[in-house]
């Protein structure tokens, strides 16, 4: 059975992929910047 046709078990269904984590964390950081909780990020 290929990996794609396998149905995830309930706990797996709610686990985020790398993409999911990346988007979630990036949006969270954007929110913190917008709210002023992250004030200035130097480079």
């Amino acid at each position: 059975m290929s990996a794609d046709s396998r149905k995830p078990s309930p706990p797996e269904r709610w686990q985020l992929s790398v993409d999911g984590w990346a988007v979630t964390i990036a949006l969270l950081l954007a929110l913190l910047v917008r709210l002023g909780l992250i004030h200035r990020v130097p480079w």
Binding site: M1, S2, A3, D4, S5, Q15, S17, V18, D19, G20, W21, A22, V23, I25, A26, L27, L29, A30, V33, R34, I38, H39, R40, V41, P42, W43
Partner: protein
């Protein structure tokens, strides 16, 4: 492979939670190598200025990759660091989403539209040529499919997605991944040199790197090595290419299913959604918010800098996972097919980009 050294990347699912602590050493290693690269770039610049020397400005990107490669190919990456080092893909995607703040949606639509037209042309050229080349070299048909997908769309992720969809062998996907990674490493160093030699503008070069360099991390690095602006455009072009992954994998899945050598695809829309890279949506959302004026100018600057820090970790990871010994062991024929194919695709995409640059004043 030496005990404890880094292996070629396979499917990795980054799952924080109880294993979060295991990620810390590797992430700290990525940060240390990346920061060392930034420190060396700044130190060289300060030294050159103080001594009135005209030294070439070698970007932190190159230093971070080279330092990572030195570690990976000499002492190897100890096992304790591996889980954290493999998060480089997470940092890459988070960095791309945050980079969306630097694009107004109008630019995304304009440049993305041009990229999309070029991507469609590039896909047609890449599939046709790689398939012919695979036949000439007598490669197994599924290995040829994997190499074609890897060079046409987006490297390792596309190969992994296609492998599952067409029931390809592990061995074939390892060959294809090794070939694509080796070629990505070569492109990383050759593309900026060719770009400078041809005096390409930032936009034209960025488009070319995004269209022709296979893996997203290498395409991002190849763009950033040229200039900050070129890096931005390379990410946009590569993201457009990544967005096509679902259609390409679906096409191959249907092709091999019709031949009776892969499972039938049920629910094409769900299949497309499953394969669609979700970070593209995050990138578009941040760009939309920036365009709508949700962020002030200093806040956009902060988001751009967060994106740079994320890329810093990514570039260190690119170096750490490039193991030259591993790549040498992977056989010559798949590499030769990939190399010839990549060279032809690079030349053809360069031609397309030069025409587009003239037509659209890039």
């Amino acid at each position: 492979m030496a005990e404890g050294s880094i292996a070629l990347p396979q499917v990795q699912t980054f799952r924080p939670g109880p294993k979060f602590v295991q990620l810390i050493p590797g992430v700290l290693l990525l940060a240390a190598i990346g920061y060392l690269g930034k420190f060396v770039e700044q130190s060289v610049a300060v030294y050159a200025k103080a001594h009135h020397l005209h030294l070439p400005n070698i970007e932190y990107v190159l230093w971070a990759i080279v330092f990572g490669m030195v570690v990976s190919n000499t002492i190897g990456v100890p096992r304790v660091f591996l889980p954290g080092v493999l998060t480089y893909e997470f940092w890459l995607k988070a960095g791309i989403v945050l980079l969306g703040a630097r694009f107004l949606l109008g630019d995304v639509v304009k440049l993305g539209g041009i990229s999309l037209a070029l991507v469609v042309l590039e896909l047609a050229v890449a599939f046709t040529f790689m398939t012919m080349l695979g036949r000439w070299f007598g490669l197994k048909p599924k290995l040829t499919s994997l190499l074609a997908v890897g060079s046409a769309v987006c490297g390792v992720s596309a190969i992994i997605a296609t492998k599952g969809a067409i029931d390809a062998d592990d061995e074939d996907s390892s060959y294809a991944i090794a070939a694509i990674l080796a070629l990505g490493a070569i492109a990383l160093f050759t593309f900026p040199l060719i770009g400078h030699w041809l005096h390409l503008g930032d936009r034209a070069y960025g488009l070319w790197a995004g269209l022709a360099v296979d893996n997203t991390a290498e395409a991002t690095a190849a763009g950033a090595l040229y200039s900050d602006a070129a890096g931005k455009i390379a990410v946009l072009a590569k993201t457009t290419r990544n967005a096509m992954i679902g259609f390409v994998v679906l096409g191959y899945a249907l092709y091999w299913a019709r031949k009776g050598q892969a499972q039938q695809v049920e629910g094409k829309a769900a299949f497309l959604w499953q394969k669609f890279p979700k970070f593209v949506l995050g990138f578009l959302l941040i760009s939309l918010l920036a365009t709508a004026g949700v962020f002030s100018k200093p806040q956009i600057g902060s988001l751009a800098n967060l994106s740079r820090w994320a890329f810093l970790l990514t570039f260190a990871g690119v170096g750490l996972r490039t193991n030259l010994k591993e790549l040498k062991l992977q056989g010559l024929r798949p590499f030769a097919v990939g190399a010839i194919g990549e060279a032809v695709i690079a030349v053809l995409t360069l031609g397309m980009v030069l025409v587009a640059a003239k037509l659209f004043h890039l």
